[in-house]
Symmetry: C2
Subunit: 431 residues, 2 copies
């Protein structure tokens, strides 16, 4: 039996008493947890101590590197293209990856988007794409590399071999109330992204009612922490700090978000989606050596759409297939005329989730046609009787709880009233 | 399947965010944990949040009552005597229960001392008594009650039916670094003591290097918390706040602590043991309606010793048997002449533990003859070559690590140097 160099209770006590764990301690802790020597109950006491007492930058770096080393690390050495990737911390109506990945790839760079599924009120990119008939999220390593070389854009499921310690730790945090911690979020995201082997990374860090971290100052701290982690690990990293107080675009769900993404790829679409897609594309291309790429034209002239079609086809999807439509709809109308002054992201995300667009447990299926289509956005004038939003589901018994979620979440005021959006869409840039 | 009224993650978040849990939430939490619905990893996140964010008095009361209700509660209604009990938070060389229980019982009151075994550097009363040939810690309920009625004093193992939630929680705290928390210590001790059904209780709350809580102010807070809990539950409760910076008496171990207790019962013994035994006896008897009991005489005239002999015999022990003696001894001598100015409790407790007097894991046996006998106490003049203490063990390979434990733990200074004892033995009284 190997002799363990540390006692886990000693390490918990250090963090509990606001001390700093050193590199050897953190590396041992993650390794011992991965191989099951440290028990879940010990690690959950540690994560609560980290949640409440924080971590120094050196500890977050060591934690991230230790989680990377718990698994394999992808390499794109053989690729003829430069790699550039994007990660969003998650939001309501956030379908940006769908137009963004093909747009950026249309400039000859590789976008290896290893994505997750949604849990709770935030949607998952794979769930959205799976509403396209035939499209599959799982690729062999060979298919992944050849699609990256040929098409440039790949959105697929991350293998379980990347940062397995993070997978184990995330499941634990989910059931022990320790999700919303900057050191733990930063190391979780960055360990996976660095292990994925991308040369460049743009982070879309959300703040506001629909984000993990509501306070912009904490969003900024998270963004700065992650940019530092990426930079230290040799990944060219920047971040945009973006407003998640209001849903992104008009569609919240799965199939409807694909429809809205297609509008953007066709040169149209909601202005907020277009603005964020273009801003992120510019960041990604700048890091890949194309700071002056004319991303707007690539949406207008069909180059991004062409890449989209090739990307969907390469993964078995039919880009011309009809997307699923829900069996039942319920339209909510304006009770009086005025101006829509408020539309909170979180309640609308929860409502879409309750309609079936999201899942409560990992193993649950999602209903691809379920969701919400907004017909007005904050600042829009509305008249009495006008549709404000439409709820869609295959199971009409879900309407009641979905409606409950949005009670008080939107408000029609008078002309001249303050419109509550929490500021501009893009609040800052870090990098 | 019953519907659960709360979500444990919500409750963890409340405590994590410095909120206050209400009675229904705490009762449900302890019940759900006892029946296994709440997982250990969830409860350990909760205990770390309690450790770091504390609990209000109402929460500590609710937690204590919920743990009592997780099991059975003893009743002494049929007894002709009044019951009075003592609990020490644990120390080095703390054998006070041994002379104290028969001394108090000799005044016609019942002392139902349900005790534990030692873990780590603090010894357990049952371990000490088990060094008496034939003595057994387990009694049937019938034998327990009849010994209380006939002899008055019973020291025996607590059944697992008392506050089982506390047993489960204590094991968890032990491996997750959440032992030294006032709300958790107070509720753990008081749930067991209240469930034991005693009418009166005197607490010996330790502070100093050999105690759980080193800071006297935190010891005072713990004492006040426990006195309040007992009083609220209808148990007449007082506490003494006592100094645990220096080992109690001269003997640290098991058999040697019984020998020292016999000296006290014979009217002699170390002055600190006598002082604390008498002070606690006066408290216990005052709560049992005998504020003027002449406890000093009962030690001098053999009444306490008679009760001791009956107590040991009733549990199968031979009060005249020879106590075990270790096979090997090692004498540590003064390197120069002067005054012993320091003798730290914790290192000497650890050394005795390493000699075999204590156990590292619950299932380990203790060596009854192992331990340390001190030959000088702080303030004593010593001459070069004079024995300072003797280490005893059956396994001489243990000497090295035991000696390491006491390096720097004692010091010979010059006449007139400050003697570091951390103040008087009894620092305060609460009640």
């Amino acid at each position: 039996m190997a002799i363990e160099p540390f006692d886990v209770v000693d390490l918990i006590r250090i963090k509990r008493d606001r001390g700093v764990l050193n590199t050897a301690q953190i590396r041992w802790m993650i390794d011992a947890y991965t191989r099951g020597y440290i028990a879940d109950e010990q690690m959950s006491a540690m994560t609560m101590a980290i949640f409440l007492n924080g971590m120094e930058r050196t500890e977050i770096r060591d934690l991230t590197l230790a989680m990377i080393d718990s698994g394999e690390r992808l390499k794109f050495d053989g690729l003829s293209k430069r790699t550039t990737d994007k990660h969003s911390t998650g939001g309501v109506g956030d379908k940006i990856t769908l137009p963004l990945a093909p747009l950026v790839a249309s400039f000859g760079v590789a976008v290896p988007q290893l994505s997750g599924r949604g849990l709770g009120h935030t949607g998952g990119t794979l769930d959205k794409l799976e509403s396209i008939p035939g499209w599959r999220a799982s690729l062999t390593n060979e298919d992944f590399y050849s699609q990256l070389e040929d098409v440039g854009a790949v959105v697929c499921a991350a293998g379980s071999g990347l940062a397995p310690a993070d997978g184990k730790l995330y499941s634990l945090r989910d059931i022990t109330g320790t999700v919303e911690s900057i050191p733990l979020i930063a190391s979780s995201i960055m360990s996976k992204k660095i292990a994925e082997g991308t040369a460049a990374l743009v982070l879309d860090v959300k703040f506001g009612s629909g984000a993990f971290l509501q306070d912009p100052a904490r969003g900024l701290e998270l963004a700065e922490t992650m940019v530092q982690l990426g930079t230290d690990a040799g990944v060219a990293t920047t971040a945009l700090l973006t407003n998640m107080n209001v849903p992104l675009g008009y569609a919240i769900g799965n199939a409807n978000e694909v429809r809205e993404s297609l509008e953007v790829l066709a040169g149209g679409g909601p202005s907020d989606i277009v603005e964020l897609t273009l801003a992120l594309a510019r960041e990604m291309l700048a890091l890949a050596g194309q700071p002056d790429a004319d991303v707007e034209s690539a949406l207008q002239d069909g180059r991004a759409m062409d890449t989209w079609r090739r990307m969907i086809s390469a993964q078995g999807g039919d880009p011309d297939a009809t997307l699923p439509v829900a069996r039942e709809t319920l339209v909510v109308r304006a009770t009086h005329s005025g101006v829509l002054v408020e539309q909170q992201a979180l309640p609308f995300g929860v409502a879409a989730w309750r309609l079936g667009a999201g899942r409560a447990r990992k193993q649950d299926p999602v209903h691809h046609a379920a969701g919400i289509d907004l017909h007005a956005k904050p600042g829009d004038a509305v008249t009495a009787g006008q549709p404000l939003f439409t709820m869609s589901t295959d199971e009409p018994e879900r309407f009641e709880r979905a409606l409950q979620a949005v009670v008080g979440a939107y408000r029609i005021g008078n002309v001249g009233d303050e419109v509550l959006t929490g500021g501009p869409l893009i609040a800052g840039r870090i990098g």
